[in-house]
């Protein structure tokens, strides 16, 4: 671990406390511990260390005469408590921590010089009751790329990987699957563990807390569940005249605890609950006391946070392996939204969850077992690509020429199409990332697709089916047509109408669908089989337009996909293009930023607060022409990282339709310019001028850096945190596993989930800043 990393680690806990809404008392207690030992008076340190540092590296540009970026550091006040130069000092700290200043072309300070200044600023910030948000920011997904990519994959880092010993808040999806086991009426339970609905990977261990909003919901859930249990299971006990004793209450506690916390209650825990019961019974009678105890169990901290302390065998460099139980939960929650299955628990009990190899066996078992629901796999791609945010972008219906919004939300359906695109590639599990980036085979489904396909199957086999003949092979044929391995997958894959959800592939079910089709009012009106099967319902008429298809150009029956011209993978999929567009136009900057950050492991700083980021109105110019304002020197420093990538997507309009001209505000139109430039792939063969998005994407798909950048995101998703330099070995091994398996996502996941980063924990002591 480098010194800089230690510094980051040291400050981390303080940072996230700053983020949360905790009491001031806690903050100040922590700041007290974090204060540097005062060997010298801080004024001395300023005069002897900080001031000369500023003079040597900073004030050449940030002087009163030059004040670059509006910042003056000559004559800056060393008294942070007076608040005058507080923001300036926070700025300096940020630049130093992120290695952003001095600029690369200028003389660079030694790490030890920088550390001394960083330490002084932190001490002074603490003393003045302030804190910088830079350390908490470094923990957040948007700052993941600040760890140097080349170093990470260089093979030079020898540190042993680990994750910090941690608490990780229950995910909303786990709550959804677990709630039915609480014994209450799930209809009255509300989601306590909401994630911020934003772009990118969301479930980060260090960013999520059980705050008072969570507790309010938990209290409500606990109350209704307790009421329900008392009404349905314990009414006799509650209404009995005498207060029940330990022999009655203990089994109730034991059972409820197991339901909620999913482990056996310890003797002392049980005793605590019984004491609560006794006290409450004295105060308010045993019926209410039973309610309180059931609620208390529901609020157990282990149902709110999962504990990953590292209670297993001791490893090198102060690391400890997860205990067998911890490992069982970690694997289960990494791959599924459920608690560990019986096989995992049994392995844990029998000492078969102690090593990386044990983990590998279990992970592989779960991945290969198609009867186990693994929604987390698809969710990674939804979060990574961000296409699942398309439904939030409101498009003006009129401008589109019939893009229906009312009733059915088209973008939501395009997101589903994109899901199918991803699932199809994952089923093949070969060359996954390259195919995701370049495949032109799209799925185009609507709510009618399933039903029409079954009807089509019925028509083709009507004679046999009506005669009750339905061979094994035929049944298989229908399954394959629908892209299913078994009927249990039906509702996982398709969002069906309520009355189709019970479809089981039987003759009766097929005939029922045929009847529904004939009952459909448009069938009655048209009496046209062709229309029924091959046309879109009026509601979906304009649905295919974003795929450059005319209203009735395709029949949209399964099996699919369809090859679409002028497309290359997810970044040209309408769902992605809409999700990365504005209400009324394309968004080259955001698209460019996406490619820079997600695929090229690059860093684009936050937009400076002094910048008024508006594109000038000019009805005679294309958006790209109007973007010329960003080419001014001070803007271009950052925009050069985004615009030349994002401009290439101008070959699509903001609905995702291929275009050659852009409609202008004055009613006219102009030819679009899709030329761009790719820099930063780190490969001469790949970097350079590109003609359009397709050219850009096909180059990106060949890049090692792009592959590694995606793998970094996969790492973040499964580990619930940003990578550190010390995770280098894990990432290199994962990259290797992916390559050697011919681009298998499963192989990549197996490698990550049996890595030291996933299995080892290390306690980071905030007092010294060093790991124990």
């Amino acid at each position: 671990m480098t010194h800089r990393q230690r510094m980051i680690t040291r400050r981390r806990t303080f940072g996230f406390v700053g983020l949360s809404i905790l009491s001031v008392a806690i903050c100040s207690a922590q700041t007290a511990r974090l204060r540097a030992p005062a060997l010298l008076s801080t004024t001395d340190v300023f005069d002897e260390t900080v001031k000369p540092f500023l003079r040597k590296y900073c004030t050449r540009c940030h002087s009163k005469t030059k004040h670059k970026g509006g910042l003056v550091l000559s004559g800056i006040s060393s008294d942070l408590a007076n608040g005058r130069d507080l923001d300036a000092w926070k700025g300096v700290l940020k630049q130093l921590v992120l290695d952003a200043m001095p600029p690369a072309k200028r003389r660079q300070p030694e790490q030890s010089e920088k550390d001394a200044v960083i330490r002084w600023i932190n001490t002074e910030l603490d003393k003045s009751g302030n804190a910088s948000d830079i350390y908490s920011k470094l923990e957040s997904p948007t700052f993941g790329n600040y760890v140097n990519h080349a170093k990470l994959f260089s093979g030079d880092v020898q540190a042993e990987p680990f994750s910090p010993a941690r608490l990780w808040r229950t995910s909303p999806n786990v709550f959804d699957t677990v709630k039915s086991s609480y014994g209450g009426d799930t209809r009255h339970l509300r989601q306590p563990f909401l994630l911020e609905d934003k772009m990118g990977i969301k479930d980060y261990a260090n960013l999520l807390f059980a705050d008072s909003a969570v507790v309010n919901t938990l209290m409500g859930n606990a109350g209704t569940t307790a009421d329900h249990l008392i009404k349905t299971k314990y009414s006799a006990i509650a209404s009995a005249d005498d207060t029940p004793d330990k022999t009655v209450i203990d089994p109730i506690i034991t059972k409820h605890f197991k339901r909620v916390v999913y482990r056996d209650c310890t003797e002392s825990e049980r005793a605590n609950y019984y004491t609560l019961f006794e006290k409450a019974a004295r105060d308010g009678g045993h019926a209410e006391a039973l309610r309180i105890v059931l609620m208390a169990v529901m609020l157990h901290h282990e149902s709110v946070y999962r504990l990953e302390i590292g209670l297993g065998a001791e490893g090198s460099e102060g690391r400890r392996m997860l205990s067998a139980t911890e490992m069982a939960f970690a694997i289960a929650y990494a791959l599924t939204d459920r608690r560990p299955d019986e096989a995992l628990l049994e392995a844990a009990r029998n000492g078969k969850l102690r090593t990386a190899e044990d983990a590998r066996v279990q992970v592989q078992r779960i991945l290969e077992d198609h009867s186990i629901d693994k929604p987390r796999t698809l969710r990674f791609f939804q979060e990574f690509f961000g296409y699942a945010q398309a439904h939030k972008i409101f498009k003006d219906e009129k401008r589109s020429g019939g893009f229906a919004y009312y009733g059915e939300n088209y973008p939501r359906m395009y997101e589903r199409d994109a899901d199918f695109f991803v699932m199809h590639i994952l089923e093949g599990d070969k060359d996954v990332f390259r195919r995701l980036l370049t495949s032109d085979e799209y799925f185009i489904l609507n709510r009618q697709t399933f039903r029409n396909t079954v009807y089509d199957f019925y028509k083709a086999n009507q004679q046999q089916l009506d005669a009750g003949e339905y061979s094994e092979a035929k049944q298989q044929e229908l399954l394959e047509r629908l892209g299913l391995r078994g009927w249990h997958e039906l509702n996982k894959k398709y969002f069906l109408h309520k009355f189709n959800r019970g479809f089981n592939g039987s003759i009766r079910a097929i005939k029922q669908i045929a009847k529904e089709c004939k009952d459909w009012k448009n069938w009655k009106k048209h009496k046209d089989e062709q229309f029924l099967l091959h046309g879109m319902q009026p509601l979906y008429k304009k649905y295919p337009m974003v795929y450059d298809l005319a209203d009735d150009e395709q029949d949209f029956l399964l099996p699919q996909p369809y090859k679409r011209p002028n497309r290359a993978g997810m970044l040209t999929h309408p769902a992605w293009l809409i999700a990365h567009s504005l209400n009324d136009g394309t968004d080259p900057v955001r698209r460019g930023k996406w490619v820079r950050e997600r695929l090229l492991a690059g860093v684009v700083p936050d937009i400076p607060i002094t910048v008024d980021a508006t594109v000038p109105e000019d009805h005679s110019k294309t958006l790209r022409e109007r973007f010329a304002v960003t080419e001014q020197q001070e803007c271009w420093r950052c925009h050069v990282k985004m615009n030349p990538l994002g401009y290439t997507f101008e070959m699509f309009d903001d609905f995702g339709r291929v275009r050659s001209e852009e409609k202008l505000g004055d009613g006219g139109s102009k030819a679009i310019n899709t030329a761009g430039n790719l820099q930063g792939a780190g490969d001469e063969q790949i970097d350079g001028a590109v003609t359009d998005a397709l050219d850009l994407i096909h180059r990106l798909a060949k890049s090692n850096k792009v592959r590694q950048s995606i793998i970094r995101h996969v790492f973040r998703y499964y580990m619930g945190r940003n990578e550190r330099l010390s995770d280098s070995k894990t990432l290199i091994a994962a990259d290797k596993a992916y390559l050697e398996s011919g681009g298998s996502y499963q192989a990549l996941v197996i490698s990550l989930l049996s890595s030291d980063s996933f299995l080892y924990r290390k306690q980071l002591d905030q007092a010294s800043g060093d790991s124990k």
Partner: protein
């Protein structure tokens, strides 16, 4: 009343507050010191279904005179109110009618759901859709904290749902992205929750309140022990959980300390609070809301008054609101609507009367209250979103130039037309939320060069 209340507030311990209760305690302290600026602003949002037909709330004198491209701005106190609104006559100087604001950034139809108070498109026929931001009522609750920050009472749930009683999610109020606010549908349960700490209908109610303390104490003790067993780097997360229970302890003490004040203001528990008929349930909810405001238990209440699935049987109506909206039944839609409006305005008038009777500062509680009567489907049974009528009662804390005014904004698409997003921006700005623009912009207006995004300056003081 206010004096005795001050006394009680003064007696509260201010030292024990959790961080979240701090703004509340600060306000309580200022109030105790008798600073009139610290008096809270109160809000009641009364949300009916099936639309408020603009003509129905327009005084006869203004009918037909309003198709003007300019803002039609008149003195409401000088004209007669429609017959169905006579109950509001005593409050004419505290009444305002605002018409003509469009809400085309919302979904129309049976309900615009959260869009009504957060100005964006969401939901489908049976589904309230995604919550992208807190609704305006919830934003106002954040600015005016109280032991119960925001009380939601509902007679019915979502537009077409059949739910009745218990916790309901009508899809109209959200406290933040993805966080819908629950509404209480059973007046007896709401009674327990609001007043149970001091008075209770059942013996179990008071017991339950007292016993909660045992639960909070247990959780706090238990979590303190757990804290020692986890790595120090992770204490922050556990402390967040622990502190939430400490806050509940504080609220519990506060409510216990407000005992007298709550007792003095809680309505007597009658069979009104357990009655089944919807109209009586509406009355019960209004009683609860009014008493909670007067007792200082809350400053913001949202009442979901009905939905399209409900029939006003007690008013002698034989069709549910949906049928009425589709011109079914023995009477005309206008006749039905007049009967229902009369009932609604009587509910509003009763609430206003009670608030007016309580002196506060230099005036009375109604002066510092803003009752907003609105429909989640805007102007019609199937809302067009072309206009969105509002009826406002109360002095709005003197922060808006509304009382006594009748305003009709230019028609949708006319130069000078404005939107409901502008309206909510105005109310938020007036009450201390400086948001530049709340909600989504109307892109069609924007493209047609009609600039609207910002507060309605003519309403700001």
């Amino acid at each position: 009343m206010t004096h005795s209340r001050r006394g009680i507030l003064k007696g509260l311990s201010l030292g024990a507050g959790g961080f979240l209760l701090r703004p509340l305690l600060r306000q309580v302290q200022l109030q105790a010191e008798g600073d009139p600026r610290a008096l809270p602003s109160r809000f009641v949002f009364v949300v009916k279904s099936s639309g408020i037909v603009p003509d129905g709330i327009t005084p006869e004198a203004f009918k037909g005179k309003e198709a003007s491209p300019q803002l039609f701005d008149q003195d409401l106190t000088k004209v007669a109110l429609p017959a169905s609104m006579q109950a509001l006559n005593p409050f004419k100087d505290q009444l305002a009618i605002v018409q003509g604001l469009s809400g085309k950034m919302c979904r129309g139809g049976h309900s615009s759901y959260f869009g009504m108070m957060a100005a964006y498109m969401t939901g489908g026929e049976f589904d309230a859709g995604t919550v992208v931001r807190a609704t305006a009522d919830a934003e106002l609750a954040k600015l005016n904290p109280a032991p119960f920050n925001h009380v939601g009472l509902a007679v019915k749930g979502k537009a077409l749902s059949k739910s009745y009683g218990g916790t309901m999610y009508p899809g109209i109020t959200a406290v933040g992205p993805g966080k819908e606010m629950p509404f209480q549908g059973s007046p007896d349960v709401a009674y327990e929750q609001l007043f149970g700490s001091a008075v209770s209908a059942t013996t179990s109610g008071e017991k339950r309140f007292k016993l909660q303390r045992n639960l909070f104490d247990f959780m706090v003790e238990d979590l303190k022990k757990v804290r020692t067993a986890i790595p120090s780097s992770e204490h922050g997360k556990m402390d967040a959980y622990l502190n939430s229970f400490e806050e509940l302890q504080v609220r519990h003490s506060k409510l216990a300390g407000m005992n007298e004040q709550i007792k003095a203001n809680a309505p007597a528990f009658t069979d009104k609070f357990t009655a089944e008929p919807e109209e009586i349930r509406q009355e019960a909810h209004f009683d609860l809301a009014t008493a909670a405001l007067i007792a200082g238990l809350t400053n913001v209440v949202t009442i979901r008054l009905d939905n399209v699935n409900m029939t006003y049987k007690q008013l002698g109506i034989d069709k549910h609101n949906h049928g009425i909206g589709h011109n079914e039944g023995t009477k005309t839609q206008t006749e039905y609507r007049d009967i229902i409006r009369k009932h609604h305005t009587e509910l509003l008038a009763t609430m206003a009367g009670k608030l007016k009777a309580v002196p506060e500062g230099d005036g009375n509680m109604l002066d510092r209250t803003m009752i907003v009567f609105v429909s989640d489907s805007g102007d019609a049974h199937h809302g067009s979103c072309l206009e969105w009528p509002y009826l406002i009662l109360g002095g709005a804390s003197g922060k808006l130039k509304l009382p006594g005014r009748y305003l009709r904004y230019p028609k949708y698409g006319e130069k000078g037309c404005r939107t409901i997003a502008d309206w909510w921006t105005t109310i938020l700005n007036a009450h201390g939320n400086p948001v530049e623009f709340f909600g989504n912009e109307d892109l069609v207006l924007k493209q047609n060069g009609i600039s609207h995004a910002g507060a309605l300056q003519e309403l700001l003081i």
